[in-house]
Symmetry: C2
Subunit: 236 residues, 2 copies
Amino acid sequence: MSDSITAVEHEVLAAVLQVRTHVLQVLLWQRARKPDAGRWSLPGGRLGPDEDVEHSIRRQLAEKVDVRQLSHVEQLSVFSAPDRRPDTRMVATAFLGLVPSHVDPAVPEDTSWHPVDRLPETAFDHRAIVERARGRLRAKLSYTNIGFAIAPPEFTISELRTHYSAALGYTVSATNLQRVLARRGVLEPTGETAPPGRAGGRPAALFRFAAGGLEVTDQFAVLRPPAGPYAHSSVR
Amino acid sequence: MSDSITAVEHEVLAAVLQVRTHVLQVLLWQRARKPDAGRWSLPGGRLGPDEDVEHSIRRQLAEKVDVRQLSHVEQLSVFSAPDRRPDTRMVATAFLGLVPSHVDPAVPEDTSWHPVDRLPETAFDHRAIVERARGRLRAKLSYTNIGFAIAPPEFTISELRTHYSAALGYTVSATNLQRVLARRGVLEPTGETAPPGRAGGRPAALFRFAAGGLEVTDQFAVLRPPAGPYAHSSVR
DNA sequence: CCAAAAGTGTTGCCTATACACCCATGT
DNA sequence: ACATGGGTGTATAGGCAACACTTTTGG
């Protein structure tokens, strides 16, 4: 049995996603040093001795790229292939982070946003992590209220539609988006309206998300218990 | 910045679940040594230097508890609270493992199966891991074909019903279970029938699962792309 | 012929998408 | 008045749970 005293180095990495200019983008920094110098890398760093992985990724995002206004952070998966980095053996815990579209965090020189659909050359296995993050976001848009984490505090339905379309990668109808979210009780009207654009048109009503935290709004489709309302259960 | 040379020890743990005597059970071993001596613990061990976490957990289950016939293994989450163990700082990657009900793996002396609903005193945070595993299994029973991993190779609908009921924790109707799985194409008849019990009755048809691997069978309910059949997409 | 177990038909409810139509504003 | 964008009504389709009913066996 090989239970030697091998302690493995552990890093935390986050794919921080935001809808910018109607496109889903991810925050990357360009590596200066080898290995993989010049390639683009996810923010993160080594796990500290007195923190759990979620504290760690939040700390590192705050310190290194000054992203403090994360609306949602969620663990994705462990990436642990022995050769995932050529230099060291390093296990990574990957996260999905979301930033609402109305904030524009100040990021360092070597850091910038990149459309998720057109990633540059990424370091190590970071491309796979970004794709995992996008997949998770897309899935949760369908059955949770996670829209609150990508949208600004108040919005019109068309604005919300552009956010959902950007994140999902295909056009969604404002009509049906409104209905689905309304029926589930995810949206609530603020009572205010937004002024029309230069071309006129009916002023749009403003909405906000009713809840501030993640909730499962669509109980899984089938095999639910006989009667009882299992709706809005906790997130797995 | 605290990027010291701290390497964190890393273990892999699995909640191995099986339906036994119509109850969902988990495999635990009783700790002999401190800390938490006498308490029940999940199988697993330290991550080796040349393996990824999934290889590691499969190796450890094979070595330590002789469980080789896993029908499904899936990563759950990282447990990394600094004080999750009183002795060492140790990060754990937790897995869900499934064993089909017709196999009875030989397990060591200090190891035994326990109903998930009535766990004994567990070591460290292992109770939380078991609950996470159960939650994941329950969710996936609803929207994937994961039943293949808990059921024997061939079965009647009533047998399948008892498996689903045990795993879900509530009674499901054989009628509707059959219909749901049939419509989705996850079940296929073998053509054979099982002999009736002592009380008589119509002989039950035998079925098997059509696919051997995990598939998402129920595309998420809403916000799907305009038309195209996105069914049976890959698992996130 | 009766009891028991398996499987099917039918109904009612709910949710979703698509599309036509009405509403409110600027020019 | 008309163009423009916002919002609602309605039709259609489909999935699911509940339950009555039919089928097939043993006694």
